[in-house]
């Protein structure tokens, strides 16, 4: 039963994540945190961090991580297969029609209307992580409760990303080091 739930959850993630990478994030968040409570927000953002630092798509990483946690290796396999199954079917069908007709206007047009929604949902998932970083998981959001040093680290990282075009992995490691130094010595 658990295998089936895992399969179906990640099937939905695979089916509706348009635009790759970050686009899968809000869907994973919905299934894994809100709906099934398989991970906490903290664990989820750890997962996003780990995904950034290892090769491989975040959806596959999440499937393996959550599947193993909930139902062992078979669970991980069920979730991973669920995640790639929709792609296998849909992409093969599109590739078949492409080879036959070589015509993709419609696909491009639909994709264009999806892009803004994808961006909005990535922003929404990012917001969850930022709120959790600034105020702690499940805490009330208020000006007093904000973790000042985390806000400063966030600002430094955003500056490096936007103005200096620093490599994301370097930015994240720096954020971790800054927090560690601050936590241990101040």
């Amino acid at each position: 039963m658990t295998y089936l739930t895992l399969f179906l959850s990640f099937f939905q993630i695979g089916l509706f994540s348009f635009g790759g990478g970050y686009a899968a994030m809000p869907l994973i968040q919905h299934q894994v945190i809100d709906l099934h409570h398989w991970l906490t927000i903290k664990e989820f953002s750890d997962l996003v961090t780990i995904s950034q630092m290892t090769p491989g798509p975040i959806a596959i990483n999440a499937a393996t991580f959550v599947g193993l946690r909930i139902a062992g290796p078979l669970g991980a396999a069920a979730a991973t297969i669920g995640c790639v199954f929709p792609s296998c079917v849909i992409v093969t069908i599109i590739a078949y029609f492409y080879m036959k007709y070589r015509h993709m206007d419609m696909l491009q047009k639909v994709l264009n209307t999806l892009r803004p929604a994808v961006i909005a949902l990535i922003a929404s998932a990012g917001l969850t992580i930022i709120v959790s970083a600034f105020w702690g998981e499940g805490q009330a959001v208020s000006l007093n409760g904000i973790d000042g040093s985390m806000a400063v680290i966030f600002a430094i990282c955003l500056f490096l990303m936007l103005k200096k075009k620093t490599n994301p992995i370097v930015v994240m490691v720096l954020a971790g080091v800054l927090r560690t130094v601050q936590g241990l010595f101040f």
């Binding site: 348009f18 790759g20 990478g21 809000p26 869907l27 919905h30 750890d46 780990i50 290892t54 090769p55 491989g56 798509p57 975040i58 959806a59 990483n61 393996t64 991580f65 193993l68 290796p73 991980a76 995640c83 790639v84 792609s87 296998c88 849909i90 992409v91 599109i94 590739a95 491009q108 047009k109 994709l111 999806l114 892009r115 803004p116 929604a117 961006i119 909005a120 949902l121 929404s124 992580i129 930022i130 970083a133 985390m150 680290i153 990282c157 955003l158 490096l160 990303m161 930015v171 994240m172 490691v173 720096l174 954020a175 971790g176 080091v177 800054l178 927090r179 560690t180 936590g183 241990l184």
Partner: protein
């Protein structure tokens, strides 16, 4: 120009080569789907001459437009093009196995790592870092989207999708379905008016 050199041996050797290629690409490509697509082009077009360049562009577009991880989709189109359904199965397996094993390994250590004070602090700080990375990605995506021409309906969709998800908790799936229906309607309407 290179079209004559393209070879297509549909045998077991090709499948093994295909598996090795997708496995290798998936194991060593840091930086997400868009990077892996570029490397696939290099390997399949320039190195193996399996697919000609123009066709690879279209296949890449398919991989990016269809739902699912781009790296996986890229493996699927290349596998299908080279060896049909068996090619798809082989190349997807090759693409999925490396992250599967890497994350399995990470999971084993994750709980022990989390207990450690320094690593807990590192991960906590990285949460702010990931937040910043995502914020930067979003800002750049918005700039790219509205760079060439500002379309009002796209801006409305973006604002509406954000509000619907953050404040009303509307599932991403419904938002995407709405956009797909809207996109198809818009495409058909424009076609009807002969704007294509």
């Amino acid at each position: 120009m290179k079209k004559k050199e393209i070879s297509r041996p549909k045998d077991r050797k090709l499948l093994i080569q295909l598996f090795a290629a997708t496995f290798y690409l998936s194991a060593f490509t840091f930086g997400g789907g868009y990077v892996i697509i570029t490397l696939m082009q290099k390997k399949f077009v320039d190195e193996y001459h399996w697919i000609d360049e123009e066709e690879m562009f279209d296949l890449t577009a398919i991989a990016q437009s269809a739902p699912g991880p781009i790296a996986v989709n890229g493996a699927i189109v290349a596998g299908y093009k080279l060896a049909g359904i068996p090619g798809v199965l082989v190349s997807v397996t090759g693409a999925v196995l490396p992250p599967f094993f890497i994350i399995a390994l990470v999971s084993v250590f994750y709980q022990a790592f989390r207990q450690n004070k320094i690593i807990a602090l590192m991960l906590e700080g990285m949460q702010a870092g990931v937040g910043a990375v995502i914020a930067a990605v979003v800002i750049e995506m918005i700039q790219n989207l509205f760079h060439s021409h500002c379309q009002v309906d796209l801006a409305v969709i973006m604002a509406g999708a954000f509000l619907a998800n953050v404040f009303f908790g509307i599932n991403a799936v419904y938002i995407f379905l709405f956009c797909i229906v809207y996109g198809i309607g818009k495409a058909l309407w424009e076609k009807g008016r002969g704007q294509i």
